[in-house]
């Protein structure tokens, strides 16, 4: 019977870059047409980039969407391929909202418009704020098939009373073309896969699913476009994280085409590593930075951040700076130097020891004049610890301003949770690479990276984590073992469990209620630090970006 050639244009748009995005769309469309595609499908809001937040309601922004869409319509006059593409359309007059829209275009005109009808408003999504939901679900007949369309959340109807796929299926639609900007987290691919299979079977429809790749601020998009037939089999899969036009010849008369199973690297260290590489590359590139800089402490976090940055940008665009201080071990710079050599990145040493001592002398002198005796006890105070971390931040920011380099911060999720980090110190920078990765995952990813090539020195993998802001300090002086801590944090942050519930869940690990309460309290108390963090690349289901907590908060438990 029938064969249809489908082009899945898994592109990486940039928010607000209308000319760049349009060029990508027209190029992929021309390519698809040359290759004989009957239809080329682009992601949700490919015209504008996604998410655009309040920009969705600026008149000039909506006008630019219309202008780009006009160009796409014009392009289809000269070609055979039809196009499905996402953009921002104007909303009803006076509503103050716009539409998250899809257009099916062919032969120089728009054949169908679909407005997203389920507007996700939870976690990292806030679409009810910006968009007016669609209320109609039109279909069209194409190549003898009745076809419907859907925009992202319209597929995820299980928690809504409105069921877009059911409406389309009742209208006789056999194929649903779905455009998406579905962000990555380590469990997303499996959930998405299960949903597509379930929905295809439930409504007896095939689903052509196209998702964007790349990243935008905190959010990473993994692509993984696919085609699921009405039996719930994935008959085609595009790769994860890779931009491109992926073509599939769909033989509709084939009864049992071979099903392709989901890659077994889903959620694995290799996948998360790749996601972070994409996140770093896009943040740096889309914000037009040529070069980056980061502190190398000799610890595992900065080592992993450096290897991700080098893999994302090439080592020539990454500068590592070691800033030994009064309490730094010899290993801190020796191991960092070895790391930098292994990665091929530029490496510099700017010691803070003397700067710290000079500054501290000024501070102490100022206080002596006032009759105070700060620091005179020989004790290293919190103020003195933070001063060291902040002098490193100062050094990196000077470098940033002087050489136009984006500062990458190196803190992980366990540290950000516990406040084991210094505002304006190690938190100073433009992008936090590992901030959604627990410390135990940091080790996992480092070991993964070393499998192909041992770039991270063994000494860094083996040493006890330490901030080195006091003599002989290690993280475990003040924190529970990371294996335990991370499990408490996962249950508290991602599963929103109470300390009591965590205590029960971890009974076998014999964690005390006191430890759990202290951890929970530290997480709540340090909300003020995270409020001032740069964007943090999201890789877990509940990242800081999608978690909203008050700073002023006396609740304990």
């Amino acid at each position: 019977m029938k064969k249809i050639r489908l082009g899945l244009a898994q592109v990486n748009p940039t928010v607000g870059d209308f000319s760049g995005n349009l060029r990508k769309i027209l190029d992929a469309l021309a390519q698809g047409d040359r290759k004989g595609c009957d239809l080329v499908v682009f992601p949700e809001m490919a015209v504008s980039g996604y998410p655009v937040w309040d920009l969705a309601n600026r008149k000039s922004f909506i006008d630019e969407n219309a202008r780009s869409l006009g160009e796409i319509v014009r392009a289809t006059r000269r070609i055979q391929s039809a196009v499905v593409v996402g953009y921002v359309d104007q909303g009803p007059a006076g509503s103050g909202k716009s539409r998250n829209a899809l257009a099916w275009i062919s032969g120089g005109r728009i054949r169908l418009r679909q407005y997203k009808s389920l507007l996700p408003t939870y976690d990292v999504f806030l679409e009810e704020i910006f968009f007016k939901p669609g209320e109609d679900h039109p279909t069209l007949v194409w190549k003898g098939l009745r076809v419907g369309t859907a925009v992202c959340e319209d597929l995820w109807d299980e928690n809504y009373s409105r069921k877009p796929l059911q409406i389309l299926s009742r209208k006789g639609a056999k194929v649903i073309v779905a455009i998406n900007a579905s962000p990555y987290h380590r469990e997303a691919a499996v959930k998405r896969d299960e949903l597509l299979k379930r929905q295809a079977r439930r409504y007896g429809v095939s689903i052509v699913y196209v998702n964007q790749v790349g990243s935008q601020d905190d959010l990473i998009f993994d692509g993984r476009s696919q085609i699921v037939n009405e039996k719930g089999s994935a008959v085609f899969r595009a790769p994860a994280f890779e931009e491109g036009l992926f073509i599939y010849d769909w033989n509709l008369s084939e009864k049992n085409p071979p099903a392709i199973s989901l890659s077994d690297t889903v959620g694995a260290a290799s996948e998360i590593y790749q996601a972070l590489v994409v996140g770093v590359r896009d943040y740096v590139t889309k914000n037009r930075f040529e070069k980056t800089v980061m502190g190398l402490s000799g610890g595992i976090d900065s080592a992993l951040t450096a290897s991700i940055a080098c893999d994302a940008l090439g080592p020539e665009r990454v500068l590592g700076v070691t800033m030994p201080g009064t309490y730094s071990s010899e290993g801190s710079w020796r191991d960092s130097e070895e790391l930098a050599r292994n990665l091929g990145m530029e490496f510099r040493t700017y010691p803070i020891e003397k700067k710290y001592e000079e500054l501290l002398r000024h501070y102490e002198e100022e206080r002596r004049k006032e009759g105070k005796t700060a620091g005179a006890s020989g004790r290293i105070t919190l103020a003195m610890e933070n001063l060291q971390a902040r002098l490193r931040g100062l050094e990196l920011m000077y470098l940033s301003n002087d050489e136009g380099r984006l500062v990458l911060t190196t803190g992980n999720k366990s540290e950000l949770a516990m406040g084991y980090c210094t505002l304006y110190g190690d938190m100073a920078g433009g992008l936090c690479v590992l901030g959604d990765l627990y410390k135990t995952d940091v080790y996992r990813l480092a070991r993964f990276r070393n499998q192909s090539e041992a770039v991270i020195p063994e000494a860094i993998l083996k040493k006890a984590p330490s901030a080195e802001l006091r003599p002989n300090q290690t993280d475990q002086d003040t924190l529970p073992p990371y294996e335990i801590l991370d499990e408490i944090l996962r249950l508290y942050i991602e599963k929103n469990k109470t300390p009591q519930e965590i205590f029960k869940a971890l009974r076998r690990e014999k964690v005390s209620m006191k430890t759990i309460s202290e951890v929970a309290h530290a997480v709540d108390h340090n909300e003020y630090k995270r409020r001032q963090a740069p964007p943090i690349l999201r890789v877990t289901e509940k990242a800081w970006f999608g978690r909203r907590m008050p700073i002023t908060n006396r609740f304990e438990g």
Copy 2:
């Protein structure tokens, strides 16, 4: 005919402080009962504080709400007064959401529960994320009157298809008891007043409106509880920003009770000043800080911040630090000293000049060793300017850690908009007091403060604004005059106008399209700085907190 004694308990709860909030509620209830109140009404979520964001869906948090509510129910066994109070109730099983709830309690039992049915999800509100909407609007007969209840947004039905007041009115309700946590901005009181009058007349109901006072992170609540009769006349008004139990004897048979008009200070400098005083006091107190510290630059922003802080906390809890640098004018510390003396606050001088020069010498030496010639041209680079600002931030944070003081930052909305501020420098701190106030408003408020008592030296009011990070620098070297700038910013940020539309609106001021485009571009470009700002007290309709913009953003216009 009938007289009813109403107690409007305009309280200031603290988020998560269940025992403290309960004590306030029981105290006001006992007081109301002693004074013969028939009904004592508390604000929305008075039990838990508002807003609580994701806490609303933690099991233990909902349990604490239930426990407090149980105590209130128990308290009504022994008294005559009925109570209306707001709290968080559990949602339907499996919904993952809770309810923003109201209970009418008397004689030891709950007579009516009302779940908020319109969940504001725009600007500073995100309630759809946390709550499940109510679907019923029960009424009860009380003192021979049919009465309905409403939770905040349920009054504001004009942009929703669901009309809670209409439903209640059709059920015969003559009085609506409405509980609120309606945040302050300079135009809020007028809008609220007009709405209450319009709705009372439209539905032929009297409205007993109780709102919370105090502040929570970025949001300030102004109280202004009131009673509007069915003819749309405000027959009673509680004061703004003042915590207390306000009692009104409502004579329902009185045909034309005198209407009380809204205070004419609405939106005035005095009111905004008072709002900021409340914001500072509550943030400091609720976060359990004893003392604060701030930099005094000799400029108008730090002078106004200091006077607000002294009025909020008492001058003994505010330390002003002047940190003269290489390019500081003599006035910077002399005027600051006079300001501090006038306010009665502690004042210290910690010069950064020598620290800056020493540190810069290190930086330059490091670069010389690498064969670079940074700074050798005698030009003062951006890196050097920022270094000075950051050394001041370092100094204040050292003080903060050393003495347990919260750092107040002093930047205004015009500066934050334009990025005329330094990350980790003057932006370093726990609360930004003036960040939602344009520069021209800063002057207005300073002049207002000086009316009663000339605390801000005339020299500070008169000098040209300058960051003093280069010789002879003034803001107007790089920025348009503030009168023009602020008008562009207001249209761009608050009214979401495009540069073209702003050009038209400001035709009479003869502002060039180039200037407007540059301003718009600067606002967009500096999103990354604001992302790392501390909470910023909200006083305008569109504050940074309610504005969501991407950092990565190539849209211009």
